[in-house]
């Protein structure tokens, strides 16, 4: 066993380009967020079903969490702490360690259009997973903003009286529910594309597990 394990110098001498470019804290916050989002979305669907905003949109019982409204509310209002705390850690570390500016910026309209066109033609390469293309950057930035909207509209629905200013900002209680719903829909749309991309480029899943 000892013979097979590399010496420290060997580890350090790993070829450039395969160093961990997804640090441990990022991988941990990513998977905790994934767990929190799945719980929030599926319990949220159960809560939504109790009084649908759009009569034609209801979620099948089998893909919801909680069993009934009360159960779903317990899940939703427990997982919200995980989501919010984990998101806060993610934001603070990204800003403090300069990862945002290194990996998600700069982003220009030109570069997005260029990479989007390349993606449509199937000509967007994924050889170097340590660099995000412009479409990826936009998607990740958008889902970060979407999470902020989800949290704020959720707070407005939870505390329309105590946080009345926030509720007014959302256009009132009923409107805050619509905002919360739309932000959820965007999150789910992101998740679908995200998973499709992982299926198309399976190596990206490895990077989020191993860091490289």
């Amino acid at each position: 066993m000892n013979a097979a394990s590399p010496t420290p110098s060997e580890t350090l001498a790993a070829p450039a380009g395969v160093r961990a470019f997804q640090p441990v804290w990022l991988r941990v916050t990513h998977w905790l967020n994934a767990l929190a989002v799945v719980i929030m979305v599926t319990s949220g669907w159960q809560i939504y079903n109790a009084s649908p905003i759009f009569a034609s949109i209801q979620f099948p019982e089998s893909i919801t969490l909680g069993g009934w409204l009360g159960g779903a509310l317990l899940w939703h209002f427990a997982a919200m702490w995980l989501l919010a705390a984990n998101f806060l850690v993610y934001l603070v570390l990204n800003v403090a360690l300069g990862r945002f500016s290194r990996r998600l910026l700069p982003i220009t309209v030109r570069s997005v259009l260029h990479d989007l066109w390349a993606a449509v033609r199937g000509a967007l390469g994924h050889e170097d997973l340590s660099r995000y293309n412009a479409v990826q950057k936009l998607a990740y930035l958008a889902v970060i903003v979407d999470t902020v909207v989800l949290v704020l509209s959720g707070l407005a629905i939870w505390k329309p009286v105590q946080l009345s200013l926030l509720c007014d900002l959302m256009g009132g209680y009923d409107q805050a529910r619509v905002v919360h719903f739309c932000a959820m829909a965007f999150m789910v749309a992101f998740l679908v594309v995200h998973i499709v991309m992982v299926v198309l480029v399976p190596r990206s899943l490895l990077t989020m597990l191993r860091g490289r």
């Binding site: 009084s51 409204l69 009360g70 209002f77 329309p160 009286v161 190596r203």
Partner: protein, 253 residues
Amino acid sequence: MDPHKLDSQLIVRDAQRELSRSTRRLFGKQILTLGGLTLLTGCSISNDKSVDTLLRRVSRFNDDVQAWLFNPKRLAPTYPESMMTRPFPFNAYYDIDSVPEVDASTYRLEVSGLATGKRVWTLEELHALPQVDQITRLICVEGWSAIGRWGGVPFADFLQRCGADTTAKYVAFNCADDYSTSIDMPTALHRQTQLTLRYDGNTLPPKYGFPMKLRMPTKLGYKNPKHIMSIEVTNTYPGGYWENQGYNWFGGS
């Protein structure tokens, strides 16, 4: 170099290095054991007793957070008459055919627990107290909301007349429809918390809680009991009909 080939080599090397550490071996074993146990129970995670216990503990923590967030001076928004929801929706844990009929002539509101003043009230005596009207939004835990106009006695005034100990923790309600709920004292003393006797200028009809309900625009609908028969001031956690089944106790807006 082919990136896929590189990956497989790296993975094997990583795995060998990780396995050579005894703590990692132990961790791996424990994870497998945990996974096996989860499979053995053969039931879904949301039915698990320990999960339910944990979720309810977080819900109690959320009670504390909401009590801390609650500003006794902050008023819920009020609305013009033109914005009232007509007809105001009926909602209860039973159908409208099962609304209880309370006899006004024999009705007595009973106050028990930590109260040293007047403890039995007739409907006439209650109607004789100074009253106010307010048009506020009722928000249901299900998500819908409706604006209504309620008139009645500010609950803080009523508690004072009963000689209630306002340092007590809870005020509990028992109702003619076998409903029960309880609230925190700061909310009980909130200016907009009202012992409601009238709806939209008329005597409170049975479907909205005759002879009286408690109306709090700072709490969700299920915290607003109808057909109140007795009120208890207490320091012992009283729970409630929905709260005992899992709805959050504080239920604040």
